[in-house]
Symmetry: C2
Subunit: 198 residues, 2 copies
Amino acid sequence: MEFCPRVSGKQNRIRNIFLANVDPDLQSSLLDCMRSPRLVGLDSMNYWIHNKRKSLLKILKRVNIFVANDREARDLTGEHNLIKAAKFLRAGGPEMILIKKGEHGVLFYSDKFIFCLPAYPTDKVVDPTGAGDTFAGGFMGYLSTRRKLDEKAIKKAITYGTVAASYNVEAFGMEKTAELSLEDLENRLFKFKKIVLF
Amino acid sequence: MEFCPRVSGKQNRIRNIFLANVDPDLQSSLLDCMRSPRLVGLDSMNYWIHNKRKSLLKILKRVNIFVANDREARDLTGEHNLIKAAKFLRAGGPEMILIKKGEHGVLFYSDKFIFCLPAYPTDKVVDPTGAGDTFAGGFMGYLSTRRKLDEKAIKKAITYGTVAASYNVEAFGMEKTAELSLEDLENRLFKFKKIVLF
């Protein structure tokens, strides 16, 4: 492994950690550096699912939230039905499974509850690159401000991730996301509620 | 046209009409028989979209609700983005556009509001045949009991269609759907609310 980032003395005390999509062995060595994580999220991709399956399944036992897209969840589990895939993944370690379905929203699965949320409907799709990471950022960012990781907090975190991702797809790369304020998120969340609540 | 159903004296006074998926010319002649429809829904399929496009576009001007699945909406409009497809269809006549996305739920579009609802998540998918028709039945059935077709009524109708369809996919053909009671629908709707509301 050539790329081997170091974790500084301050960073190793970070309590809410998101292991973004890199080699699962690298994710594992990064996690080893952390002193007392409260919440560990992990994202991966098809390349690792096929080429580092064992390492990936091993680190999944150490994470709280596994974030995957629908294709990755199906590839890793061999289950087409996403509820079955989520149950399979849950049995492999993470208490929480978050399956991203792009324009179709997300499916959250845990032993305590299931939550389904559509994507924010937009006809201004310019570039979907990074939408999944933006979602994860909004989701983990919100949870890192919460003391209790209960149903209410998790549902709310998913709505923040969803509106953050909706801004991301409306421009190239980070053009819109980099400028986002909390007010932007709140404004869109307000509109989103009218679109999905009944 | 060999199949030419007749509408009896009683039937032609029915006020809430759903023109299920048959030849659009036949749908049109059936609609001609109706005296004073209040609400007209229409479903179609790719065969008619490709082979009777003109007839289909013509009858769309006479319906209130066009119900299509995502592939049909894309095929008919040439728009991949479903919001754009819905706007295109809206411009062709129907005030309300209801795009069914199978396991991913539905998108409703009108000038007044947009509504997105996931499907009821189930891992007991046995046979999806007829799910779209069951959805339409639950949706139209609920609206036919309402005086006002406002946002609240339409959203509720979509939730009834959704839970009705979820029972349909859990057994072959009409096995489960034929036995459904209103209580069954209400029970699942109660569970569904916990899964989609926040």
